[in-house]
């Protein structure tokens, strides 16, 4: 069975003076049904990694395969199509459209698949019920709490039943208790079969998840539980990064 996502020696260098080596040779495979925490301090390259996983950004070097398809050869248009069908995103700042109700926000998740309006709303309602907001269908984001907004965003990410859900610091704007609720929801979705990659800078949160990947200075250290020990190797990693 092909992996949902494969990164092969991915580099991402932001041009500038000096150029920023945000990712330096990342290899990673995510299998269907997995839930992976990507953890690391601020500036370590997590968001860059997630953007590349989500085809919002392209590697400077290396390849990204989504369900076996090499994305490096796809046009911007094809990548958009791939995102519309196979990927779901959850962002730290929710990115909800304020003038739309929760239902319409979630339905936007199907907009660029050409689904009919009626079907979009039906699927959006089901997704909102799944995240526990079945009673908030017609509420606007401004009338929702932070946790509820993030649930709406999660509903929007799952409404198209993507192969992979990518969440960048989904609890970053929430207090701990609310954040825990969001993580629990993601765990629930994973238990129902969704493949999820969650980015977090919170080691405690990462520790709850079955698989953890630690990013340091643009490269992956495997075992998050040993991050204190790894910090001593930091210089070595940096040396490796500049190779």
């Amino acid at each position: 069975m092909t992996a949902v996502l494969t990164l092969e020696d991915v580099h991402r260098i932001y041009p500038g003076s000096p150029p920023v080596k945000a990712l330096v040779g990342v290899d990673l495979t995510v299998e269907a049904g997995q839930m992976v925490a990507v953890v690391g301090p601020s500036g370590s390259g997590k968001s860059t990694l997630l953007n590349i996983m989500g085809t919002l950004d392209r590697p400077t070097e290396g390849r990204l395969l989504i369900e076996g398809t090499d994305t490096s050869k796809l046009s911007d248009r094809r990548l958009s199509g791939l995102r519309s069908k196979r990927l779901g995103f959850v962002f730290q700042s929710f990115h909800l459209i304020e003038t739309l109700t929760a239902l319409d926000n979630v339905a936007t998740g199907l907009l660029y698949r050409g689904t009919s309006g009626r079907q979009r709303r039906a699927m959006a309602q089901a997704a909102l019920e799944k995240v526990g907001l079945g009673d908030r269908l017609h509420t606007r984001p401004t009338k929702l709490s932070g946790g509820q907004r993030q649930r709406v965003a999660i509903a929007r990410a799952i409404v198209a039943e993507p192969s992979l859900i990518l969440a960048d610091e989904p609890t970053g704007n929430l207090d701990t208790a609310t954040g825990d609720g969001i993580v629990a929801l993601l765990e629930q979705l994973n238990a129902d079969g969704a493949t999820i990659v969650v980015i977090t800078h919170d080691p405690d949160l990462a520790a709850r998840l079955p698989r953890q990947i630690e990013v340091r200075d643009g490269a992956i250290r495997t075992r998050a539980g040993e991050h204190r020990a790894l910090e001593n190797e930091h210089r070595t990693v940096e040396g490796g990064a500049d190779r």
Binding site: S47, T48, N51, G54, L56, D57, T69, L74, D76, R77, R78, S80, G81, L82, R83, S84, K85, R86, L87, F89, F91, S93, H95, I97, E98, T99, L100, T108, G109, L111, Y112, R113, G114, S116, G117, R156
Partner: protein
């Protein structure tokens, strides 16, 4: 892999509408620029077209078949028309009516002891004057054969006002050249011959007999069978003065009225150009607002890209937003321009004539301008790097 983004046509529209609805105040203010441009253009076209319609309707009732034959001005001396010029002209079969008038220097006073009323003249006219000019009286009666040689007068409408006479109660009299004349009628306005409004009209026989005026006509008004105008007009000068036809001038008073419409045309073009400038400014306003909107909505643009929107989808969303914004301005402008036209035309008691093609092209122009204004901001939006846009980055 056959993954393709797909956005339904109606969803393109509703997406753009959402974008506009979420910024109502700004949407309205921006649309206002276009509205003012379109409104002024619609009003200019509407008012001048209503005025033209009114003028044509007026010409229709007045007829364009009235000609005026005069001794040609210019040269050192004016050679007067022969005395029998009018009977000769009347002999042409396509002439329906003709009347000779003699412009005199007879002074007009309210009464013998009063000062001369400046700017009001006395005209001796043959009895056919009223028929030929379709001149009607608002009060009293016109002159006729029986009154031709008597000291009676009909006043032009302005002359009546200047002489302070508005009705015939008590048999008002005026003093012409020191002789008392009884006023028997007051003329209605004569749109084709506004100069006659300032005249006191007496019989030509009275003018000659009572004041010793030379009987040569100054002007002859000629009404011609409408279909025969072109053929008859060249006959008038040689008929009036067979010896020296070049000393005769033939004009058509309705041409003056029509020329007024032509003057309006120039003014109209100027006003239209001003409206066009307003539109252009409105278009630039839209472009500005859209550029700001794109900057503010980076997050939304990034989100839509993450949800699968192609660059083309983003571009069409913003072009359409601009076009709708401008189209809204167009609709407002048409309503406003039509209202201005209707109010103005009513005041002038014209029929309202709003050419539908002007209204349609108003909307069309607005939409096109909006699209043009939207291209650049939309291209900017489409070119945004999705990764930067979702992060809310500014770089």
């Amino acid at each position: 892999m056959s993954d393709r983004s797909k956005l339904r046509g109606r969803d393109v529209v509703s997406t753009s509408v959402v974008g506009l609805r979420s910024r109502r105040g700004r949407t309205l203010l921006t649309a206002l620029g276009i509205a003012i441009g379109i409104a002024s253009m619609v009003a200019v076209v509407g008012i001048s077209s209503s005025s033209k319609a009114a003028l044509l309707a007026q010409l229709d009732t007045l007829g364009t078949n009235l000609l005026q034959v005069e001794a040609a001005s210019g040269g050192l001396s004016i050679e007067p028309l022969p005395i029998d010029a009018e009977p000769m002209i009347r002999r042409i079969d396509t002439v329906e009516a003709a009347s000779a008038v003699i412009d005199t220097e007879i002074e007009v006073r309210r009464n013998a002891h009063d000062d001369t009323v400046v700017g009001i003249g006395t005209l001796g006219a043959t009895p056919e004057f009223f028929e030929t000019l379709k001149a009607t009286v608002v009060v009293g009666r016109p002159l006729d054969d029986g009154l031709q040689s008597l000291p009676v007068a009909v006043l032009g409408d302005v002359a009546a006002i200047r002489l302070g006479i508005s009705d015939l109660a008590g048999g008002p009299t005026i003093s012409l050249g020191g002789q008392d004349f009884v006023v028997v009628g007051i003329l209605d306005e004569l749109p084709l011959n506004p100069d006659l409004s300032r005249k006191v009209i007496i019989g030509d026989e009275a003018a000659v007999a009572l004041f010793g005026i030379a009987p040569n006509p100054t002007s002859i008004y000629v009404r011609i069978t409408p279909e025969e105008m072109t053929d008859t007009r060249p006959l008038l000068a040689p008929t009036a003065n067979p010896a020296r036809p070049a000393k005769v001038e033939v004009s058509r008073p309705s041409d003056l009225l029509e020329a007024r419409a032509e003057v309006d045309q120039n003014l109209q073009n100027l006003l239209l150009a001003l409206g066009g400038v307003a539109l252009l400014v409105g278009g630039v306003g839209i472009a500005n607002v859209m550029v700001i909107s794109v900057l503010e909505r980076r997050g939304e643009i990034g989100l839509r890209r993450a949800l699968g929107a192609t660059r083309g989808h983003i571009r069409s969303q913003f072009v359409l937003e601009a076009a709708l914004l401008s189209g809204l301005g167009g609709v407002l402008g048409i309503l406003l321009g039509s209202a201005i036209t209707i109010i103005y035309a009513r005041r002038q008691s014209w029929v309202v004539d709003l050419p539908p093609e002007a209204l349609l092209s108003g909307i069309g122009a607005a939409v096109v301008i909006g699209m043009l204004a939207g291209f650049y901001p939309a291209a900017k939006a489409a070119r945004l790097d999705p990764a930067l846009a979702v992060s809310g980055g500014t770089g």
